[in-house]
Subunit: 199 residues, 4 copies
């Protein structure tokens, strides 16, 4: 089914274009026309793939979540021991600040958009689910670590929350002040702190 593949590819191209444009100009300042230009298609064509600008952002968000998931899968492939998983996760997370910087700018737009509850607010639901899912994954790692005798932790889910919150908070801080701290140094420091707090 080559036509379907083609459609899928074009959709992805639009999303990539949207990401770059939204990241550099901000969701509200970016024009659909600019996204179209970046995707090398006509303005009207976007509407063949997405119903509206907010929906495009939501789709982009979903797309980004998927790419992040792939990124982590890749980085954590074959790693078995919970402490190691955590270490690699943190390293991957902090490394992503630089590698996926545009993502984080778009995330800020998502946060700003998802904030106010509206007609269903799919964006907010999507955000929530993504968070839940991440916490779930991380909680499982911590639990596995406890089960395997690596960690000691009475409330694994709360610990997972701490870890993820820390990563998000650092991302935000780093985004607005890349000189605030050294990413490599921070990776080491954070890993040590997290592992120590679980021992």
């Amino acid at each position: 089914m080559p036509i379907v593949v083609d459609k899928e590819r074009k959709r992805a191209e639009i999303l990539e274009a949207a990401m770059l444009v939204f990241a550099s100009k901000g969701f509200h300042r970016a024009k659909m026309e600019e996204v179209a230009a970046a995707a090398r298609i006509g303005k009207g064509t976007i509407y063949e793939y997405f119903t509206s600008k907010p929906q495009l952002l939501q789709a982009l968000h979903g797309h980004m979540l998927g790419k992040l998931k792939d990124y982590y899968s890749e980085k954590l492939k074959g790693i078995e021991e919970p402490p190691e998983i955590l270490g690699h996760f943190l390293a991957a997370a902090l490394a992503s600040f630089r590698e996926w910087e545009p993502f984080f700018y778009v995330f800020c737009d998502v946060w700003a958009e998802a904030g106010r509850a509206e007609q269903q607010n799919l964006l907010r639901m999507q955000l929530r689910e993504a968070y839940q899912s991440s916490i779930d994954d991380l909680t499982r790692v911590v639990e596995a670590g406890v089960a395997g005798g690596f960690f000691r932790c009475e409330q694994p889910r709360l610990a997972a929350e701490h870890i993820l919150a820390c990563v998000d908070g650092l991302a935000l801080h780093w985004l607005y002040d890349p000189d605030a701290f050294d990413l490599e140094e921070m990776t080491g420091s954070l890993t040590r702190t997290v592992l120590r707090s679980l021992s």
Copy 2:
């Protein structure tokens, strides 16, 4: 004889109105007219106090930072021992999620706006300075704790970063999913984790 007006008070009233309106509708969806209505003044009057909508957001951000500072001063008044300071700080921080919820919504707008560098981008600079200042304060607490024999910590500044990042990340998560965790439980858990990581 010209009408005498407390310009400072009126300015503050507009800022309070802007905060509520921006928080509930989002910066971009909110109209200046709505802010004016909320402040019970005419549309044009806002421009006697602020030069533009973005500048109003920036001023609001500064206003909010000031109020948060006062809030923390109040909550930490008279507390001397570093571990206690940290505990009260964390309690105050998590309590502020609920108490100052509108602030956090506006912060999301600020993050989205501050992201893209424009004419100087005062917003970004203001954000950066506020962050630096918070980190400085927290670092000093950790250092005092080390000096007083309460804590052990080789890189107080990085520890301060961890703590602040964690708070911010939790705020964000809680904002979009108030059921994600119980605030009181989290306060205890976070305090324990932080204090343990410094012992």
Copy 3:
């Protein structure tokens, strides 16, 4: 397949509409919406062809200069003898007061707008060039008349200035007081005076 439009024709239609609207209400009192309505298009469409209201005026000015040029070319076609050229020119000029009355109203707006130097002030430059060009043309006629033994004139350029200034001044006066003088009578009188001053 995109809609094919004769952009040039549409542009001209907007300019014609703008001329009528500006002429009847004045540049500053006319709304873009009125121009659009007169051109039977949507408000936003004007901005597909012109970047701003002042730019529309400038474009209109250029358009009018072109039409005036065509008008004179037409009126003077095939006339060879310098005295005859001058006579026909003056007749055409005074006749244009009535025929192109809207033009002159718009010229008043142009004069008022072009006055103050701003970002380059294309309007002023355009005005200057048009004037220069007219003076050049008229000077050449006078010179040809001198060369052909029809006229005696030591400073043809200054003479050309007199003639053109006289026409413009009369236009202005007639515009605000059509009863000030009889156009036909004035045409004869002016022609006689000009020709006598060159003999």
Copy 4:
């Protein structure tokens, strides 16, 4: 009645301020507040002396006409012979281009404003009367010249029209292109042409 004198003086000060502001920014771009600032009074005070912005322009126009009249009276004082009067008038007129440059900018605004007939349009009537009056004066000079045997002229009023139109046209041209011609040279040339055309 010192109070009345004071009122009159203040009114004149506002008019002088308005002239400078209107001349430099244009009637429509100038703000009442700027006029007030230039007159060193409060914004509201203008309305104690003038009922509206258009009325201020109209009053200013009247004020300027008066000053011009005084200027010419002064320049032509004691001159009796019609040819000399004409010569001095033309010299004064062209000299005024430089000396009273702001006047001419404001005149452009007046032309643009007076153009469209509205509720009575006092401005237009004022303009017309001023023109009539000038033509009358000039006609009388020509007639006196004819009577005195200095000139030969069958239609003195039309001749007066030519002269005045020429001056106005030159003013306009010079205003937008001060390099178009040399004022002194033009004065001589114009005087010679005018006197010759009347001989």
